[in-house]
Symmetry: C2
Subunit: 223 residues, 2 copies
């Protein structure tokens, strides 16, 4: 990147980090676990979140979601089927969400009444990497259709994530998904990263994911 | 986007446009058709290009490729299996290719000896949109695994592309790909756009794609 644009970006990123820090404190204080979900376009973020939010609500948890997209509110409409409140950020060309965009969406929501807030980022394996949203958990998703080497090719994103979810496991066989190679790529980029293998279609791994989220929230409340 | 960063970006983009214009004149003069291929990560750019380059070489055409990735030269290695010269640009975090990066890779290549030069962009449906590389043809790829609404959600990219290629058609049935909906999304964003449906695995649509490329090169030579 050219020096001039780099300099401005560094300043803007620093401002975003400060805003994200303030948001994080607010989320911790309210006792809500905020999950920033990042992946390529079409990796299955919306489908897994729709199922996740439906189950958490059935179990009595208060959940909400913020969805980022360049255009359209299609994903927000899909997530709203879970019955939870959902807000859409249309970025109109911007390739990532920023802390300020999230902050603006919180108006009128009683954060302390929420248990979980999911933020579905813009589909992009590069740019969301540098933008902290104040989340308590950053999850990188990777579908079996994308190729096992994605973590090696987009190391920044996987390296800044707290966990990885492999999606669309129901297609693993037909896509000749090399599970060992994918897990190895992930460990190479972020040694020790927790990985869940899921299918929003068959339900594989979804219970484990729900348990993980609930435990994570407990840990956050205990700190 | 914030006003300050927007201002710098506008200036940088203008510089890129000027460099791209100069490159385009160079490519036209040399009689090489330059194809800028853009898609999400894991949409199958490399696999389709590997097959395309192998066939074009078998037919006696001189082809070469430039590949952009954040890290790793895995895609360059795969494309080099076609027997064609391939160069890798590692962007180290930058989310798109720029005209200058392409220009730097051309040193030592006799452009006028080439018939086709493929540029495999960084896997990203957002950022490459604004960066002209001087190409004669911009192709947006969309795999059947990604969902039919991608053109609506990333209209900028599809709108600036000369054609669209649907990839991984061999997985269409198992992914319950809604062909009519996908074609409708494409036409809605870019009315009249030519669409090819392909599978690098089964070879579906590949002959058509090769014919399209050869015709396009002839048209370019005739202008």
């Amino acid at each position: 990147m050219q020096p001039r644009i780099l300099e401005v970006r560094t300043r803007i990123l620093k401002e975003n980090d400060e805003r994200a820090r303030a948001l994080r404190a607010e989320f911790l204080d309210a006792g809500v676990l905020v999950v920033n979900v990042v992946s390529s376009p079409g990796s299955g973020k919306t489908q897994l979140l729709q199922r996740t939010m439906t189950i958490l609500r059935e179990q009595g948890h208060a959940v909400a979601a913020i969805v980022g997209d360049l255009e359209t509110d299609r994903d927000a409409q899909r997530l709203a089927k879970s019955g939870a409140p959902v807000r859409q950020i249309m970025t109109h060309g911007c390739c990532h969400l920023e802390a300020d965009m999230v902050k603006q969406q919180l108006t009128g929501w009683g954060l302390s009444e929420l248990d979980f807030l999911f933020i579905e980022n813009v589909g992009n394996l590069v740019c969301p990497t540098s933008w902290d949203l104040g989340e308590g958990l950053r999850v990188a998703m990777l579908s079996v259709t994308e190729g096992e080497d994605k973590p090696l090719k987009y190391p920044g994103l996987f390296n800044t994530s707290d966990m990885a979810i492999v999606t669309k496991m129901d297609l693993a066989e037909v896509c000749e998904f090399d599970r060992a190679a994918a897990l190895q790529s992930l460990q190479q980029v972020r040694p020790g990263i927790q990985v869940l293998e899921t299918s929003a279609k068959t339900g594989q791994g979804v219970d484990q994911w729900i348990e993980f989220l609930k435990n994570r929230r407990c840990e956050q409340l205990a700190t």
